[in-house]
Symmetry: C2
Subunit: 342 residues, 2 copies
DNA sequence: ATGAAAGCGCTAACAT
DNA sequence: ATGTTAGCGCTTTCAT
């Protein structure tokens, strides 16, 4: 069933059917209804490929993200896929998904696949994909020459056609650390994932908070780790074995905070009396942990909503900011109770 | 830049360029190289829409799943998106993703969108989407008239063009319950999510295990709940308040098991001495809980690998089984230690 | 307001 | 082995 069949059945030309299909105003109400009736009767839907060929778009956005099953993947961006998809669908865009591992080739191939399919825009979730090394970002820069690229929680500034929407993780980490300091903690360990833009910002925020309190930044209090209970336990044990004090802990992901929580509890450290802990992401985990975890909410859902809104704007040819930032919020639970306000 | 431009630059016809592009054997090595050189020089990639229009396929599979951010969503199928996507990409298929809520209309619209885009196949993750009510499945049945539909952990049998791949959750639940019984538990509570095909199968497995041990199935031991610590706590408290015994617990999701674990620990019930617990999904959570959770692994990754392998087979016109099943495995941890084997 | 016809860029059948 | 050409199904410009 094609537009031609419909036109014959309705005794009009294909152009008229096309007009009806596209809501063109230049159609008499009576012909419109006549055509619509035939379309409905035959359950006709126009061929998307032919449409795409003519219009040079199929209203599709490519989404690149780390495979959610990857154990090294930052879990905090997990939900972004769903949020972005939902918002795109509301704007009548379909989403082509590419979940890839920590592999440059896969990243490049995925971006090439998106370009081949002539997506209207590319959304890249997470700063993992942005390398410090310029050559590694070449495929992104190339893509941006033809297709707008949106980095969610990434950073690649001052490049035409590349847009960033992100959470202010530096500020989030700053306020989390400040809250620990205000609760009385002075020896605050920091646990973080392998280096990405977001992680670097969080480290910066932690350091700035200490400085603002007139405290020294001690590198031996900053640990890079994976969310593995044994690994975190070993780090805490060796830290304490060195005779280093510990009365606060800030982790850049809830996972890491929970590993630390388990180790501390196992050692008989009382929480929050002897040790206060703040995680990051405000994930489900923070509710399931014992005691329940105070965590920084980096507002992924608003971030995704904003991203799609701006993306659609930009595609409509409107002026669009290159960098857009949302704030993080601290959600207080048991591992660092909310401060009393008068 | 089109195939015509390339053909002119290489002094050949468009057909030859097309042949080179598609790896057709009927091209001399020298012309192939000549054409390839021009293609590379100009960084040419053929227009996917035009290709799709001619071939009536863009090698795309539509994936329908519950929005991962939905708090009521069964989390155990979360990773399926990534696994399916990865396998499809390996077979050179792109994935159109539709994450929807618990809404019939969204489901219908998404399936319609897939059909409009003429996907080669539809994959539906989770049995949530399959209703007991036949009219609610109408859009799936309609879709199957033109496009193969694959249900991952769903059930809709004996319908042409609908295929099911699933984990044997009945058997998984049976063996989990059996393991609890063999550990000495006699009063085993069951916590489950809202009814889906998988959940029903798990309940069945639980009941059959009790029966196999000559024990009665007591409905007052079976609770439907959401993964909310307070809700589960209330259910356990009222259960115990009724004077009902409790020395074992089987939950159809790790989330539920962990909520129960928290409540039990808070009441001073010792685990695993007084209460043994088995969860389901073998999720990350099972490692982060205290004590670490014994859980049924429902082998989502192999399931997804199998699904895509069969799907591709079927698209190639090969005979393909309608229902394919993988087994579940019990992963023993602290809440139900592994039995000693001699 | 409606129709005729020219693309859009590729594939494949057919011709050489 | 290579070229010619007729579609694929839609949108849109230009006539009427």
């Amino acid at each position: 069933m094609t537009i031609h069949d419909i036109s014959k059945l309705a005794n009009v030309s294909v152009a008229t059917v096309s007009r009806v299909l596209n809501g063109n105003a230049n159609v008499t109400e009576s012909t419109r209804e006549k055509v619509m009736a035939v379309i409905r009767e035959n359950n006709f839907t126009p061929n998307a490929f032919a449409r795409g060929l003519g219009l040079d778009t199929m209203r599709t956005v490519g989404i690149l993200c780390v495979d959610p099953a990857d154990p090294d993947a930052c879990p905090s961006l997990q939900f972004a896929i769903g949020y972005l998809q939902r918002e795109l669908r509301r704007q009548d865009f379909d989403s082509l998904l590419y979940c890839v591992g920590y592999d440059m080739q896969e990243k490049e191939r995925s971006i090439q696949a998106m370009l081949n399919r002539r997506v209207d825009a590319i959304v890249i979730i997470g700063s993992f994909f942005i390398e410090n090394n310029a050559t590694n970002n070449l495929c992104i820069l190339n893509a941006a020459q033809t297709t707008p690229v949106w980095l969610v929680n990434g950073n690649l500034e001052n490049i035409p056609n590349i847009f960033c929407t992100r959470c202010d993780d530096r500020d989030g980490a700053y306020r989390a650390t400040k809250a620990l300091l205000e609760s009385g903690s002075r020896d605050i360990m920091m646990l973080h994932y392998a280096s990405t833009y977001s992680e670097q910002q969080k480290i910066l925020g932690y350091q700035q908070a200490l400085q603002a309190f007139g405290l020294p930044v001690r590198d031996e209090y900053i640990y890079e780790t994976t969310p593995d209970v044994q690994e975190v336990e070993a780090k805490i044990n060796s830290h304490l074995a060195k005779g280093l004090a510990l009365d606060g802990l800030f982790a850049t992901e809830d996972e890491l905070a929970i590993c630390a929580l388990k180790s501390a509890t196992a050692r008989g450290i009382s929480i929050p009396e002897q040790l206060r802990v703040v995680g990051y992401s405000n994930s489900k985990l923070s509710l399931f942990s014992t005691p329940e975890l105070t965590s920084v909410d980096h507002n992924i859902e608003p971030l995704c909503v904003t991203t799609v809104a701006l993306l659609v704007n930009q595609l409509r040819g409107m002026k669009t900011p290159t960098v857009t930032t949302v704030m993080a919020d601290i959600v207080y639970r048991k591992t660092l109770p909310a401060p009393h306000r008068n």
